[in-house]
Amino acid sequence: MSLYVDIEKKLGNFHLKVFFEAENETLALLGASGCGKSMTLKCIAGIEKPDRGRIILDGVTLFDSDKKINLSVQERKTGLVFQNYALFPNMTVMQNVAAGAKREKDPVKRERLIHEFIESFGLASEVNKYPSELSGGQQQRTALARALVSDPNILLLDEPFSALDSHLRFQLEQEVRRAIQSFGKTVILVSHDRDEVYRMSDKVAVMQNGRIEAMGEKGEVFAAPKTKNGAILTGCKNISEVKILDDNHLMALDWGLKLYVPNIPEDVEYIGIRMHDIQAGEGENHFRCFVEEVIENTFSYTLLLRGVEGGAKTFGWEVDKKLWNYYRPKTGNIHSPASEKPVVDIRIPSDVILLLKG
């Protein structure tokens, strides 16, 4: 059970060129809108036709430009779930799920299958409702039931949670995760949301401009992104262009900070520092900084800092509310002129600095 994708497609100025493999696992395609992640999904499903390449699922060639193989959407047996769920509005929940079971020709088995999925997705009391009468969660469950009852060889999820508010989203994520677990085959999830990707997937492919920039186990990809875009997509807010001074020192040009990092590779163009990785106090890479702005979040503050020796741009420090209340300087006012702003001591341990390519 595995998916092999090696495709290329030109569309105006856009050039999609991706290669990846996935086993029985959840692979997330993470990227901003327009990076080609949905197009890749559509190529796998057979909705879009690549110009060149091969797509093989469980040993069956779905697409091969050399051998002129291009199976229809129906023949590919993929389970497609769209962001808007695409439930048939003129059919009830029961009819929607039943439509998914049409491949089963034996009517007795088919009936049993439909009821099994209605039950296991908790839709028994909604069978006669139309999609417009369902809650977001019920719509999603219906869409999943309809896709999975057709016994697909792969599940393709296109931004399944983007349209939801955060509370509902959390609940639905759990339901989808359960469905994925019992499905047990390859799942491709397309998303622009790093938290969602982190919670839902095993492997992550970071996409930009139609290419896969980085791919691997999600822990690796998130802990150590290799590119500027990868850092941004995995949620790193502080990114600066750098000048390498020597093997162990570099200058963060945007912030005017000289940082110690052991063994700097030559091709480093940027560094990234996650806002919560900055620490209070003195030590390695210690800096005194003015606090220019304090933004209150639900459970933390984001402080915008600028080194006392000056820097073109500020950088963010996310600090726990309790810690900040304890640590907050008692003098200085963020609204005062530069020299009278509150001053804090921070340190940036060298092992939290992400060394990035462009």
Partner: protein, 219 residues
Amino acid sequence: MDWFPLWNSLRIAGISTALIFFLGIFSAYYISKAPRLIKGILDVILTLPLVLPPTVVGYLLLRVLGPKRLIGTWFLEVFHLRLTMTWWSAIFATSVVIFPLMYRTARGAFESFDENLAYSGQSIGLSNTYIFWHIRMPVCRQGILAGAVLSFARALGEYGATNMIAGYTPGRTATISTTVYQLWRTNDDALAFRWVLVNLAISFVVLLAVNMLEKKRGV
């Protein structure tokens, strides 16, 4: 009052609407999927009758179907059938005139159709024919029905092309619109006015139906 023109108008409009209903829908479906250049060209050609004066449509039809013209001659020789100056000749005229109405409303309905519904259907193994009849058509139903009703109304009111290809023969080819003109021309103002009222009543009902269909669509 001789009710023949009403009956004749209704059957002409009914038959041409039924014909164009399917022709318009299938043209709309296939053209909305065609490559852009072909789509652009066909769109212009198929919409042309909407903006042409009906007399021009009538003239062009006569050039093709007239007894001394290409198709007209062929039908006369093979089937001994005259395509003009019979009651059903008007069906050619009304069909051509209402085609763009049906085609364009159907195309509008199809274009607002969420293609993801079709893709979802295909991925779970539904055939394209099944998707067309059980998903696409029902979802676009209101728009398509509104187009059909509008086409029927337009067919009922067709005058110019009808007059040229079917003429005005009382009791044979007379429709409401040709009758009104004839009565007015012969100074029978009272009777003309009655037919005008009949026409108004029908148009009113038809437009009411269109409105109700469109309101339903908004919900």
